[in-house]
Point group: C2
Chain length 230, copies 2
């Protein structure tokens, strides 16, 4: 029987990174509880993919939380009046914070994960952030993750009782190619995942947004073919 001590809450987006993250949590003996967010993003298909990935990788539960980031505005990913930036190659991706940054997104997501973890009596949260390929996002850095964990341990009953919560970010120092290699080794079907910021209605990736370019570079470095493009 399952007990609460090996439950882990996994932030699951439907993308490549979080699918890998779920597989890693499972390989480490955790019973994964997946949480996704509907936040006014352009592509509802992400959530269908998240549900497929959760089934494929055997999550014990998968919940989708509606959140109101769109009401606050301020990002190309939630505000239809701001265009998603397109490039011809990864070399054109700037080092500045991109327009696709969503204000405080990971903080909002991790806060919900923290609430669910407390209810589930779980002391482990997994998030698929990556500091190398997405260095423009402030809330993907290791120092941010550490500060969230410290805050979380002061925020909750669990922390008060000295039963420490851990935020796992197993991809944080991996390249995209290393992430894909790890996931393939764990049997992740990347054909189920979607990374594009601006896909067609049927889920076909645009091939030119930052996320598509970084994903293509990862598969290319491995000498592998992206099953989502087959």
């Amino acid at each position: 029987m399952q007990n609460s001590s090996n439950r882990a809450v996994i932030l699951l987006s439907g993308g490549l990174d979080s699918a890998t993250c779920l597989a890693i949590a499972k390989s480490q003996g955790f019973v994964p509880y997946a949480i996704s967010f509907r936040y006014g993003q352009r592509h509802r298909i992400e959530l269908e993919r998240a549900a497929s990935v959760a089934r494929h990788l055997g999550a014990a539960d998968h919940i989708i939380i509606d959140i109101d980031l769109a009401k606050l505005g301020g990002s190309a990913l939630t505000d239809r009046n701001i265009a998603v930036p397109k490039h011809q190659s990864v070399d054109q991706i700037g080092s500045e914070i991109p327009l696709t940054y969503v204000p405080a997104r990971n903080t909002v997501f991790l806060s919900y994960a923290l609430a669910w973890a407390e209810v589930l009596e779980s002391k482990d949260i997994f998030i698929g952030v990556n500091a190398l390929d997405y260095s423009g996002y402030p809330d993907c850095r290791p120092e941010y993750i550490s500060a969230f964990a410290r805050m979380a341990n002061l925020a909750t009953k669990r922390g008060v009782e000295g039963n420490q919560l851990t935020i796992h970010a197993p991809l944080i120092q991996l390249t995209k190619a290393q992430i894909i290699e790890r996931g393939l080794g764990l049997g992740v079907d990347y054909g189920l995942t979607i990374s594009c910021y601006d896909p067609a209605e049927d889920g076909t990736p645009c091939g030119r947004c930052d996320s598509c370019l970084l994903r293509a570079k990862g598969f290319s470095e491995l000498g592998s073919i992206d099953p989502a493009l087959k």
Copy 2:
């Protein structure tokens, strides 16, 4: 004309503490932007009161965010299957974490406030937490507020750019009587506010939940009459 440098985001619940907090922010020269949350609580009347307080105290804007804490369960304030604890006097309020604790609530609320602050280009957030009268809640402690601020400054563009965000908790070391005295001095009409965890349909407070008892004690210590009971 307003500029963004003196905008402040204020967490506003419709209760006595957050109304006082809004009045304090205004008295310090901030332009208040009030944010409230609909989170499956039993008493929708809280949100009507929050809107009244925002108008009464001249908030520049007031938004209500729908959040899904109820889906996660785990608290008497969001789960109808758990009864709100009732007592005859404040002496019966225990020192343990109460059943009315909502998992990670202030963390979720502050995360949304952080997102809005970033969009508004505000660097100040006010929260009416109080460590004395509510010592059972872990996320009302000064060390929690400090840890959230530290995390927030690592999470956002503003923090990356070195433009520090401050979480103001001006009530944190005040007794309920001191909070009321401060608010009365700033012209807060406490008749608009509601503190009860379990009011009647028309907003009449139950008089016996922890929140009602603490509020009554505050007015009593001041030798003042609660205008909400007139």
